[in-house]
């Protein structure tokens, strides 16, 4: 793993809201082709890590490094990196007044100034890949949650990001739609895309992760490969956490 090039790194990050520390001296390094899954109880700061990696959240201490280059607070430096760091949100955040195709093409044309025809062709290919070709001229409200989230993923992919951040992308979905979205993520992982995923879907996490980070109270409590973490958790806290996902058979008298 360490032989591959490092893409993004956060170092000794401390993030506070008012007096509450959301992240306390947190560090994480993500290498090319790696799939890092962050799990942990609600409110432990998982999403905040992704938002910091994308410069959406100011930090009190620490630094973000992208391909060895320090990301400072200046807008120019942040926007340049944001182009390379794709983000998919829990509530899709598609532009409601734009068609699916316009949603996907917007940033490539306006931010990356790429050729419209080429961008459109690629957008259509990406849509076909997630099985939504026939929705290209529809508006977001005409799509189901799972479809919207697949479009949001395509929108992020259209920018040719070097790393993709997924922030609880299935948390707002009905159970039967979770699968269709996670399948897209699995196929991206198979392709060797670099991804950082925050999720509550433990069996998915186990299947997709190269490395699992268990976060609690703003600290990294445990780190390991998927099988290390899920089958042989080291810390008491992690064992407790994983136990909340299992149910004991009810014994009737």
């Amino acid at each position: 793993m360490s032989k591959r090039e490092e893409i993004i790194r956060v170092d000794h990050i401390t993030k506070r809201y008012d007096e509450n520390a959301v992240l306390d001296d947190f560090s994480l390094s993500v290498h090319e082709g790696e799939v890092v899954v962050i799990v942990g109880p609600s409110g432990c700061g998982k999403s905040t890590i992704l938002r910091i990696m994308n410069g959406l959240e100011p930090i009190q201490k620490g630094e973000v490094t992208y391909r060895g280059e320090k990301v400072d607070g200046k807008l120019g430096s942040i926007t340049r990196i944001r182009e390379k760091v794709g983000m998919v949100f829990q509530s899709y955040e598609l532009f409601p007044h734009k068609t699916i195709l316009q949603n996907i093409m917007l940033a490539s044309i306006l931010v990356q100034k790429r050729d419209r025809r080429e961008v459109k062709e690629e957008a259509l290919q990406l849509l076909a890949r997630v099985g939504l070709s026939e929705k290209k001229d529809a508006y977001p409200r005409q799509l189901s949650g799972g479809q919207k989230q697949r479009v949001a993923i395509v929108r992020a992919l259209a920018m040719h990001p070097e790393v993709l951040l997924f922030d609880e992308v299935t948390a707002a979905l009905d159970p039967e739609m979770v699968r269709e979205v996670l399948d897209v993520l699995l196929s991206l992982a198979k392709e060797g895309k670099t991804m950082v995923i925050v999720t509550h879907e433990m069996s998915f996490a186990k299947a997709v992760a190269d490395r699992v980070i268990f976060l609690d109270g703003g600290h990294m409590e445990e780190e390991g490969t998927a099988s290390e973490f899920f089958d042989h958790p080291k810390t008491e806290r992690a064992k407790q956490f994983l136990h909340t996902f299992t149910y004991d058979k009810v014994e009737r008298e």
Binding site: N54, L56, L75, T79, R80, I81, R82, E83, V85, G86, M87, F89, S91, E93, L94, F95, P96, H97, K98, L106, A107, L110, V111, Q112, Y139, P140, R141, A152, R155, A156, M159
Partner: protein, 221 residues
């Protein structure tokens, strides 16, 4: 008054009123739209917070909005004369109308733009979009339904103000209603004039709502 004369007068009055209202609203947006955008982005939770700028704009707009239109009309007569060359007539009335419209429009633009979902703006930021793209391609585009409702309200308000300008010889339908209805006790003319104003308002409102519904992609067909 002979029927034909009255019709000619009403037609001219309507034309003058529309001229004043449309030009004033247009100029009001030339000033009010950028102001509304500045208010939105400089506010605490805006994309580029600036307390001082927000407060200054906020106070200026509040002061302008506090002055009753009739007082504003008289208060800025010297300025109107400076700009247009005279202080009465339809073209002169455009000056106070624009000054009254701009802060109102700025406030409506501000409230429309603030309705745009923060998450959507954040998504645009996450794709590396700059301030200009965010403002025009995300905020203004996504708020367009609400912005258009604002245009309708602005037109209606300015139509009302324009009638008030009749008191100081502002021209248009308000002028006719005051001159004939109030000074000469020709109630008939006044009623007809008011009826025309009512129809104008209805048409503006109806057209505004129709268009804003047509361009709303969040619901409907």
């Amino acid at each position: 008054m002979i029927f034909k004369d009255m019709m000619t007068m009403l037609a001219e009055g309507t034309r003058d009123t529309l001229y004043m209202v449309l030009i004033s609203t247009l100029l009001g947006y030339v000033i009010g739209l950028p102001l509304g955008i500045l208010l939105t982005i400089s506010d605490v939770d805006g994309i580029s917070p600036n307390k001082v700028l927000y407060k200054i704009l906020d106070i200026i707009i509040n002061i302008t909005r506090s002055i009753p239109f009739l007082i504003l009309l008289i208060l800025i007569m010297p300025f109107t004369k400076l700009v247009v060359g005279k202080s009465y007539g339809t073209t002169a009335t455009i000056v106070p109308l624009t000054i009254a419209a701009a802060p109102l429009i700025a406030r409506m633009v501000e409230s429309s733009l603030k309705e745009v979902d923060k998450g959507v703006i954040e998504a645009a930021f996450s794709m590396g979009a700059g301030g200009f793209t965010i403002i025009w391609k995300v905020m203004v585009t996504e708020a367009r339904t609400s912005l258009l409702v604002g245009v309708t309200i602005a037109l209606g308000t300015i139509l009302g103000y324009s009638a008030m300008a009749g008191v100081i010889g502002g021209g248009g339908l308000g002028d006719i209603a005051i001159r004939y209805g109030y000074y000469r006790y020709e109630t008939g003319v006044m009623i007809v004039t008011v009826a025309v104003l009512v129809v104008l308002m209805q048409v503006l409102q109806w057209a505004g709502m129709l268009i804003s519904k047509k361009i709303d992609r969040r619901r409907g067909k």
